[in-house]
C-alpha cells in the first residue's frame, strides 16, 4: 500500500486534475501520459487480465493530435483533453469503414464468445463524446459476459485480478475498468451499472465510481442487458475527475429515446467542499445481515467525518429494501432474456452453421453463452412465460413501485442518502462461483438504486483487512451535483484520496 503524497506518485497513478494541469502548462505531453499508461498495461495488463483489446497505434496518434492543439495554445477549458482512458467492452467502438473493411478501430465482445471477432460498423455515443472531449482511447476493458456478474469471473476471456491483492476479484461486472483505473493503466474508464456494476467494483478496487440517473447519459451503442435498469458512468481516482467525465457524457441524445432533456450543470463547479447544513439520511436497512464488521465500521466512521464537516446525519427507513434482490432478479433477467434474443447466429456474431434454422439457434446460443448468461436467460424466460407472468414479472414491477415510492418519500426530507456500497471487501477468486445466490448478495446495497433509477456514487472510505471499502452516496433523480459535492467534501476531509494499490510504483 502506498499512502505517499500525490506529487511523489508515478505520473500514471495521479489524478486527471493533476496531470491535466501539467498538460496545460506543457510540462508533460499527452504522448508521455499515453506511453506511461501503455507501459503499465504492458507490465501488469496480462497478469491482471484487465484489457480485452489495446489500440496502441491509434492511441498514440490521438495523443499526438492533442499535443499539436496544446502547442497551438488551445484546450484551456477542456479537462479531458489528452487524458488516456479505457472503455468497458460493452460499448461498441467503430471498427469498420463504409466498405466493411477494418478501419483500425477496436473489436467489441461484451465479454462473450458469441461476439468474438465482432467489429462494430458504428461508434457508441460514449466513444464519440469522449473523442470530442479530446480524451485518448487506450483500449477495451474486460468485464463479466454481457455485464452479468459481481466479480468479473463470468468473462469468457478469464477473470480479472484486483491490483490490491491479486488473489482477489476486482468486483464486477466492470472489473477490468475498476482494476485498470486502480492500477494506473488508465486515468479513467467507463463502466455500465445495471445493479451495481460500477459502484461495487469501484468499492472493491479503491477508486471512485458513479452511476448517473437513468436517462441522464446516452446509452446509444452500449450493449443492452436490462434496458430499464442499465446506465453507463465513469471510474476515476478522484470525485473531481469523475465530475469532469460526467460533464462530457451528460445530456440528451436524439439517438437514445430514454435520455432526457434536463439541464446539465457544471459539475466540477459544484464541488465546493461545503456540506454544512445538509441533511444526509442513513437507511437502517442497508446494514444487511452478513455485512463484514470492518466494512460497517469504515462506513460508520465516514458518517462521522461528514458530521464533523457540519452535515446533519439522520437515520431513515426504506422498508422494502429487503425485497430489492428478488425484484431485481426477476426484472433484470426478464429484460435480458428479451435483449439477448438478438444473438441468433444470423446477423452477426457466432454461428453454429447448421442447415436447420431452429437447430442453428439452439447450437449457436448453447455454445456462445456462458453459464451465468444462460441462467439469467432461463430465469427471465420462465418469469415471462405463460402462467408465471403475473406471479413473477408483474409482481416484481409492483414491488418496484413500492421501492421507488419509498426513495422518493425519504428524499423529500433529506438531501442525499449514505450507505455502504458493498457488504464485503474484495473476496478470493473462486470463493462464490459455486453459489449464484451468494454472489447476488454482493449487490444488495446497490441494486435498489437501479430499481428506482437514482444516481449513486462510491468513494473510498478506508481499508478493512488491507482492502478498500466504499461509501455510497445516493441522490435524487438528476441531482448528481449534490452527491458529487458530498463525496468530494468527504474525500477531501478523510485523507484516503491518495490510497493506491501495491502496483503503484514504476
Amino acid at each position: 500500500m502506498s499512502t505517499a503524497a500525490a506529487e511523489t506518485l508515478p505520473l500514471v497513478d495521479r489524478t486527471i486534475t493533476e496531470v491535466g494541469e501539467l498538460l496545460r502548462r506543457r510540462e508533460v505531453s499527452s504522448r508521455e501520459l499515453t506511453e506511461a499508461c501503455l507501459a503499465r498495461i504492458r507490465r501488469d495488463g496480462e497478469r491482471l487480465n484487465t484489457f480485452l483489446a489495446v489500440g496502441e497505434k491509434r492511441a498514440l496518434q490521438a495523443a499526438d493530435a492533442v499535443d499539436a492543439r496544446l502547442a497551438a495554445g488551445e484546450g484551456a477549458n477542456e479537462p479531458l483533453l489528452g487524458i488516456p482512458y479505457a472503455l468497458k467492452d460493452i460499448f461498441v467502438t467503430r471498427a469498420l469503414d463504409d466498405d466493411g473493411q477494418p478501419n483500425g478501430g477496436l473489436p467489441t465482445t461484451a465479454g462473450s464468445r458469441v461476439l468474438e471477432g465482432y467489429r462494430s460498423p458504428y461508434p457508441s455515443s460514449a466513444e464519440e463524446q469522449l473523442a470530442a472531449a479530446g480524451a485518448v482511447l487506450l483500449g477495451k476493458t474486460n468485464c463479466d459476459e454481457f455485464a452479468m456478474g459481481s466479480s468479473n469471473e463470468n468473462s469468457a476471456y478469464g477473470p480479472v485480478r484486483n491490483p490490491w491483492d491479486e488473489s482477489t476479484v476486482p468486483g464486477g461486472s466492470s472489473g477490468g475498468s475498476s482494476a485498470g483505473v486502480a492500477g494506473g493503466q488508465a486515468y479513467f474508464a467507463l463502466g455500465t451499472d445495471t445493479g451495481g456494476s460500477i459502484r461495487q467494483p469501484a468499492s472493491l478496487a479503491g477508486v471512485v465510481g458513479m452511476k448517473p440517473t437513468y436517462g441522464r447519459v446516452s446509452r446509444y451503442g452500449m450493449i443492452a442487458f436490462a434496458s430499464s435498469l442499465d446506465q453507463c458512468g465513469p471510474f476515476a481516482r478522484s470525485v473531481r475527475d469523475v465530475a469532469h467525465v460526467l460533464g462530457a457524457l451528460a445530456g440528451h441524445d436524439p439517438r437514445d429515446s430514454t435520455s432526457v432533456e434536463v439541464p446539465v450543470p457544471d459539475y466540477a463547479a459544484t464541488l465546493t467542499g461545503e456540506v454544512r447544513g445538509m441533511r444526509l439520511g442513513v437507511p437502517r436497512e442497508y446494514f444487511v445481515a452478513g455485512m463484514e464488521p470492518g466494512v460497517e465500521s469504515a462506513v460508520r466512521a465516514a458518517f462521522g467525518v461528514l458530521e464533523g464537516l457540519g452535515a446533519e446525519i439522520v437515520e431513515v427507513s426504506l422498508p422494502s429494501t429487503d425485497a430489492g434482490l428478488a425484484t431485481y432478479y426477476i426484472i433484470a433477467p426478464a429484460e435480458a432474456s428479451a435483449n439477448l434474443a438478438r444473438y441468433d447466429g444470423v446477423k452477426y456474431g457466432l454461428s453454429a452453421g447448421e442447415d436447420d434454422l431452429l437447430e442453428n439457434y439452439l447450437r449457436t446460443r448453447g455454445a456462445g453463452f456462458g453459464a451465468e448468461v444462460k441462467r439469467r436467460i432461463m430465469l427471465g424466460t420462465y418469469a415471462l412465460s405463460a402462467g408465471y407472468y403475473d406471479a413473477y414479472y408483474v409482481k416484481a414491477q409492483q414491488v418496484r413501485t413500492l421501492i421507488k415510492a419509498e426513495f422518493d418519500q425519504v428524499l423529500t426530507d433529506v438531501d442525499a442518502l449514505l450507505a455502504p456500497t458493498s457488504p464485503s471487501v474484495a473476496f478470493k477468486i473462486g470463493a462464490k462461483t459455486d453459489d449464484p445466490l451468494l454472489m447476488y448478495l454482493n449487490d444488495a446495497c446497490t441494486l435498489p438504486v437501479n430499481i428506482a433509477g437514482l444516481p449513486g456514487i462510491s468513494v473510498p472510505c478506508g481499508l478493512s483487512d488491507g482492502l478498500p471499502v466504499g461509501l455510497q452516496v445516493i441522490g435524487k433523480a438528476f441531482d448528481e451535483a449534490t452527491i458529487l459535492r458530498v463525496a468530494d467534501a468527504y474525500e477531501r476531509a478523510a485523507g484516503f484520496a491518495s490510497l493506491r494499490p501495491p502496483t503503484a510504483h514504476d
Binding site: D99, T258, S320, L357, N360, L362, R365, Y382, V399, R400
Partner: protein
C-alpha cells in the same frame, strides 16, 4: 418446484441448447433462486400499480425526415453468411427445400 421437463420447455422457448449436465445443474439452481425470489409473494401489492420504467417519458417522436442509412457493406460485414447484398438464412419454409 420446477421439473426437468419444465427446464427443457423453458430452454426451448429461449432457443437455448443445453446439455444433459446443464439441464441437471440448471434445475437445481433455478429452484433455489426461485425459492428465494418467492419471498416477493409476501409483499402486499394489492393497491399498487406496476412500474415498467422510472422516468416520466412517453412516446418519443422525431421529425420524419430522411437521412443516410448505414453503408450496406458495413452493415453486412459481420454476417456469418452473406449472399450478395443479403444475409443468407437457412430455409424455413418446407416448399423451398
Amino acid at each position: 418446484m420446477i421439473s426437468r421437463a419444465d427446464v427443457e420447455h423453458v430452454a426451448a422457448l429461449a432457443r437455448l441448447g443445453l446439455t444433459d449436465d446443464e439441464i441437471d445443474r440448471m434445475q437445481g439452481q433455478l429452484n433455489r433462486i426461485l425459492e428465494a425470489i418467492g419471498q416477493l409473494q409476501s409483499v402486499d401489492t394489492s393497491a399498487v400499480g406496476p412500474t415498467a420504467q422510472v422516468i416520466a417519458l412517453e412516446n418519443v417522436m422525431r421529425e420524419d425526415d430522411s437521412r443516410a442509412p448505414m453503408a450496406r457493406d458495413a452493415a453486412l460485414a459481420n454476417a456469418p453468411l452473406r449472399e450478395g447484398d443479403h444475409l443468407r438464412v437457412p430455409v424455413v419454409l418446407e416448399e423451398g427445400r
